[in-house]
Amino acid sequence: MADLSLPRFAIFSGFKTRDRAAPIVPERSVAGRTLVLLIAIMTFLSGVTLGGVVLVQKSAIAWSSDVGREVTIQIRPVEGEVMESNLRTAVALAQATPGVAAARALTLEESQRLLEPWLGTGLDLSAIDIPRLVVVELADPAEADIAKLERDLQAVKGASLDTHAAWRQQLNVMAGTIVASGLLVLALIVIATVLAIIFATRGTMASNREIVDVLHFIGASNSFIAGEFQGRFLTIGFRGGIFGGLAALLFFFLIGVTAGSVVPQEANQQLGILFGRFALGLDGMFGILAVVPVIAAVTAITSRLTVRRFLQTTS
């Protein structure tokens, strides 16, 4: 049964009835709201950066994988050679190569369409000898014997093989640069967070000097006092981290929805092929959520170390 011995307005008359003892470091004595906001912003920035890195890396891997599943044989017109015959030979050589799933020569119309972006439409190119392409799809890029195909193609005059290796390499370099930049930004955010927590902790210790002194006088160890302050900062770190993490997830959700609705569907599909989709996936979401306990831990550990240093210099 509830204790009714105190009036209902007891809290306003200087009485506190509590189920358990109040924390030794009062919540209001720590620059709580400001720090929660700051940690939320830092977590949001970390989450967005991490999510961006995940998106770029996923897109790069997917694009590289798609490009890697295809090689192209180009056959230039050579005087005295019959193009159609060379095409058939190239297709046959490709199909005979281990690891090749399919090979198909682009028709003259398809080849002309590929030139339209440069030459414009409505031109009759039938009178001009243009290079022709054979698209070779690989069943398994790792297993495909590209070297053999390259050797075999030496029998076809004017034939050359394009494995898109230069594109893939450039893409990997670009993606790697973005990932490295993202990780650098993450590291800077963590450093900025640590510095902000150090300043906040120092301020808190200075304003709670009386509590620290009393605890020392009654025999509290530095470890005990640091633990009391660490607990308070851990709570703040978690609170700010959760707000920031959820905001980052919401940001990616809204970006995904907005991109889907603003860009026309066809263009959206092409953008998706080129740049990947604004879909983090489960691993990306877990990555962002994992930032929350990391930020909380960074907050708690930083405050503990700062408090211990403060206590060592003052006691």
């Binding site: 200087g14 009485f15 003892a21 009654i218 025999g219 509290a220 530095n222």
Partner: protein, 219 residues
Amino acid sequence: MIEFSNVGLRYGQGPEILRDLNFRIEPGSFHFLTGPSGSGKTSLLRLLLLSLRPTRGRVTLFGKDTSALDQDQLLQMRRHIGIVFQEFRLLDHLTTLENVALPLRVLGEPESSYRANVTELLDWVGLGERLDALPAVLSGGEKQRAAIARAVIARPDVLLADEPTGNVDPELSLRLLRLFAELNRTGTTIILATHELALLDSFPFPRMVLNNGQVEFHG
């Protein structure tokens, strides 16, 4: 229990404010510490509380040379010493019960194990009806009794009090002194700093008189 041998203390490069202190305090005794303002009473109490180290000489507490102790050992030893301040030094956001129980929380005892003992002690010092009151609504006398309760809740061997009656009226001063005397009867060694002559004359305890940085024993 407490032994000072040729103890001297100075702050920074200033003059020695305590010098050549040589005395021994037996367990279970009660001493008044008196002397004019600025004579070094608070400094001597801080030496006894181990919050200051002497600049020379040796302080022995509970049979151990305190100069040989590291910080953790000093803190362990401090748990055997209770302290009452003139300005109470209760934590404003904690209730009377929580303030008094603080030394037990520091020792890691769960609330369920000490609540009954703290309540009983607060009853004994006349604060049984003020368990849930915050310091802001306590009178000076109530605050001082709460501070005394906090100092003795962990059953210290030595209780130090620095002008504990400085902020209360004469009648309450006498009542508080009786409380200290009662604690002394239970075996606690007490050193009580005061400069109130009326109090000194009311109780027959020996006096440590500080003058010019040196101590003399009377009675």
